[in-house]
Subunit: 212 residues, 2 copies
């Protein structure tokens, strides 16, 4: 069989992709407030499961957009997620993206405390005196540490994007976070990833930029 | 319901995850040559679809491992994939990871030629006179350009990891690549991603390191 490529201009690829996603969603109705986030996650993963697994606390998307418009910074738990965040847009809004996973002091703290670097990197982030959004795409231990810090009143993020992926304590860490009175966007279940975390950040960033 | 976290030591999380994956695969038999790659992709995505979609040309994994042992470099189509590659291991084997997507000359070439930056970044990579593995996790246009360069005899990669994700020309670009006489690892269908590309690189890198 001859394989035929569609002729699509570079600048039209993304728009065409979103049209296909919208068409394939068919009669499924999405909350308009969450639609841009859900569609961008599907765009990033080609996985329609996220229609059912993405959970939003009340007004989570509006709160995230408002935070970014006010110059909030984004803290990730992987260099991959940080690499995926649109830093030009973030910077134009006054924010910065941080990931402390490769920092020597984080590695040392993790070793001393018998914990993961992801956990130690959240402790380091908690010391930042700027408004923060957390985007956790990999390590459930990071999300558990956020849960503890928030519960103990030591941290008050403007939004937690809780989409770690995996098999050990991933489902549980997400459910724990959703018990808290904190704005969240969570991918319930095992799925998620650094790419999903970055996609959610970017969906918020693009809306924040539009509404400037 | 009380949410209970499992007690798992940091260093044991990955091993435990792979045990769960192995258990859930049950009676599904994987080609032992490809098993480490398939399981690491599932570990990265929590998506068992990859058991059915990952396609390997003959001895692709062995060829990739051998190339890395000989100091092959890895070229990615996103900064995210590059960020996810274990560069310490790659560097210990004598290789480097490149991504040209953010380079001003690539942006200029793309604009001039009316193509994507991903396409232009493959042209830039083709000029590198070192042994190369390509890891394409995002842009089908990058994979199509690789197909053209290889078919025209302008490029001879040691391995192409073809796992772009998406809705426009993604399925087709992967099928095209698999028509060529080039070692490949491809995730057939729409799914894939920068995280999948990096996971496959790392599965090869860890085996290359073990067999040094």
């Amino acid at each position: 069989m001859k394989i035929q490529l569609q002729k699509v201009l570079p600048k039209e690829i993304e728009q065409r992709s979103f049209e296909i996603i919208t068409r394939e969603l068919g009669d499924i109705s999405l909350d308009p407030a969450n639609e841009a986030v859900i569609k961008r996650v599907i765009h990033t993963t080609a996985d329609f499961d996220y229609v059912n697994t993405l959970c939003f606390s009340p007004n989570a998307v509006a709160k995230g957009i408002e935070a970014l418009k006010q110059g909030a910074c984004i803290v990730t738990d992987t260099q991959m997620a940080r690499a995926g965040v649109n830093k030009a847009t973030l910077s134009a809004l006054g924010g910065e993206a941080f990931c402390f996973m490769s920092d020597p002091d984080v590695a040392a703290a993790a070793k001393e405390q018998g914990t993961t670097r992801a956990t130690a990197s959240m402790d380091k982030a908690a010391a930042i005196s700027r408004p923060l959004i957390f985007a956790i795409g990999n390590a459930p231990t990071a999300l558990v540490r956020l849960y503890e810090l928030i519960k103990e009143g030591k941290l008050k993020p403007l939004l937690v994007i809780g989409v770690p992926v995996g098999f050990v304590n991933v489902v549980e860490a997400k459910e724990l976070l959703m018990e808290l009175d904190v704005p969240y966007i969570v991918a319930r279940g095992r799925k998620g990833g650094s790419n999903v975390a970055a996609a959610i950040c970017n969906a918020l960033l693009y809306q924040a930029k539009e509404r400037e």
